[in-house]
Subunit: 341 residues, 2 copies
């Protein structure tokens, strides 16, 4: 078993910097698109053989040091009885958006049976994988933003309005969603996931004071709720430059950094107690190879060989990315990345 | 003439902190919506009496210390012969998006006649206003992103792909757009605008190294090209926490700060040589009044009474904002804001 990724998460010295890509299983791969032609997103997620196959595709093709379970950050919402649809190019759309205190009663607590297909997928993957498997879930704020907005938004105005106008309802909602997120991650770890990533994808739309008061307690509940499992916990969101210190303090072993914050600055903000993951601009992978290579080397140089670096993009792989570029990127990181080894 | 705003831009002591709001002329005001029922956006912009009326509405109702010309950041693109449409709730949509070097020939240089309606609007406003008028335009990167994407995007993948793949075409495009932006701002100042704001709304999607190499030179051309006019130059974009120092160095007198970066941190990044503008979360204006007041006081306290603060939101007024909240906010800033006076 290649355990470079797990050692880097624990800030142990490694011979070479491990690398994986957010959304490495996805539309950039022709073998994924072939499966998607025959099955919807949720159909793949709920069919263990398909979900396992799609999880394995990037490991085979790209040579990454970790696999990430094929799922969606909103998948745990299904366990609460909320109707969610994943629309291509739009994202999750919610049947009946959350509008206020009365809607709390509609969210039922998850139980073990809700994650049966995930457990079965992981069981298949444990036989097939020779790299660690990362489980994941959406964080309470990001799940809440989907529930409240109902569909895509640029402003998150409805979500923030609820947060400001009904602080008790908001706190109750986030606490419930923390339970959902935690139950999903715990089921994944129990089944064999060797690490987890809590995606607070949209937390970066919040001012730090709002994040600290109204969001951090729920995220902390999820992350500290996994402490006894001893698996590395990664905490990530985009546009979170001003939140990195708080996100590290929520109980993370690794903080994911988007491409806007150079890794040396990110290191200053999160301190020495956590590892960092990132952070090449996903759009840089659309560039000619010499530009990609230069940008990747810049990421490695900014980490300056310190232990505790997992190479990744600063957000998910863009669908228009050439997979050959990703494969070469893995080679470059393996050849040139030194992580305190 | 109330010149608080101009003095704060110049970092002179003021008796009270001046305040205006980005997109103060807009859908939050019923008197604006009444006009919009009868006329499209570009029709208002091109009809001096209507544009002047809409510019005056928030000054009358809210008591702000500056007016901003009613226009759109992409309006200067029209002067290049590009077909632009402003779709409600979507934003600018471009007729034939910019795809590569061949499209450079389609962009004609602007000439003085292109801004006739703007000049006439400002002539009307000079008679009516007793606060300074701010002129504005989109910055080269933001204009380019609209031209290249053609419509709304979350990833700016096409724009960045062009920037990485065809650096010469990209540089030529941004240089042309700098000329357009500069010509528009110069026409506005010549007609009587007392300050300008260069909106690089989407520059925050760039990593600092990309911004510095591929965008900053064009923005600097615009801002330094106005140095001889002596009007204060404001430079603003959202999500630009990591770019603030560079944006200040581009030739700005004032740097606009979005709500993600507390003003004390923003001050550390931009240094003492420039003023700051901002930075209440626009969504905070959807909160009950005591929450709005608390958040506004926090903004004032973080500036700590230093000269060179223009109070504003961290981005435009949201359409669902109650204008009474904005009026009370102006009163609060006037009563409690001290700017080194």
């Amino acid at each position: 078993m290649n355990d470079l990724f797990l050692r880097a998460c624990r800030r142990e010295p490694v011979e070479r910097v491990p690398v994986w890509f957010m959304r490495q299983a996805g539309r950039a791969l022709p073998e994924y698109r072939a499966i998607r032609e025959k099955a919807e997103m949720f159909e793949i997620i709920r069919t263990p053989e398909l979900a396992a196959e799609v999880t394995l595709q990037p490991v085979r093709r790209l040579g990454v040091d970790a696999a990430i379970l094929f799922s969606d950050i909103v998948a745990p919402l299904e366990a609460t009885g909320v109707g969610v649809e994943l629309r291509e190019g739009i994202g999750p759309v919610i049947d009946r958006p959350f509008r206020g205190a009365d809607d709390l009663a509609r969210l039922r607590p998850p139980d073990a049976g809700d994650f049966g297909h995930v457990i079965e997928t992981i069981r298949i993957l444990r036989r097939e994988l020779d790299v660690p498997l990362i489980g994941f879930a959406g964080a309470p704020f990001t799940l809440a933003s989907y529930l409240v907005e109902g569909g895509p938004t640029r402003t998150y105005a409805r979500t923030k309005a609820l947060m400001y106008r009904e602080p008790e309802t908001w706190a109750a909602l986030l606490d419930r969603l923390a339970d959902v997120s935690l139950a999903s991650l715990r089921a994944q770890v129990d089944a064999g996931a060797a690490a987890v990533q809590l995606f607070d994808s949209w937390a970066g739309v919040l001012a730090p004071a709002d994040y600290e008061r109204a969001v951090l307690p729920a995220s902390r509940k999820v992350l500290t709720g996994l402490a006894d499992t001893r698996v590395p916990r990664i905490h990530f969101g985009v546009g979170t430059g001003e939140l990195l210190r708080l996100m590290a303090g929520a109980g993370a072993d690794v903080v994911g950094v988007d491409w806007r914050v150079p890794l040396d600055r990110a290191r200053e903000r999160v301190g020495d107690g956590v590892a960092v993951q990132g952070n090449l601009d996903p759009a840089a992978c659309l560039a000619p190879w010499d530009v990609v290579a230069g940008a990747a080397r810049d990421v490695l140089q900014r980490n300056a060989g310190r232990p505790g670096h997992v190479f990744n993009l600063g957000h998910g792989v863009l669908p228009e990315t050439n997979p050959d570029t990703l494969a070469r990127l893995v080679e470059l990181v393996h050849e040139e990345g030194r992580g305190g080894g």
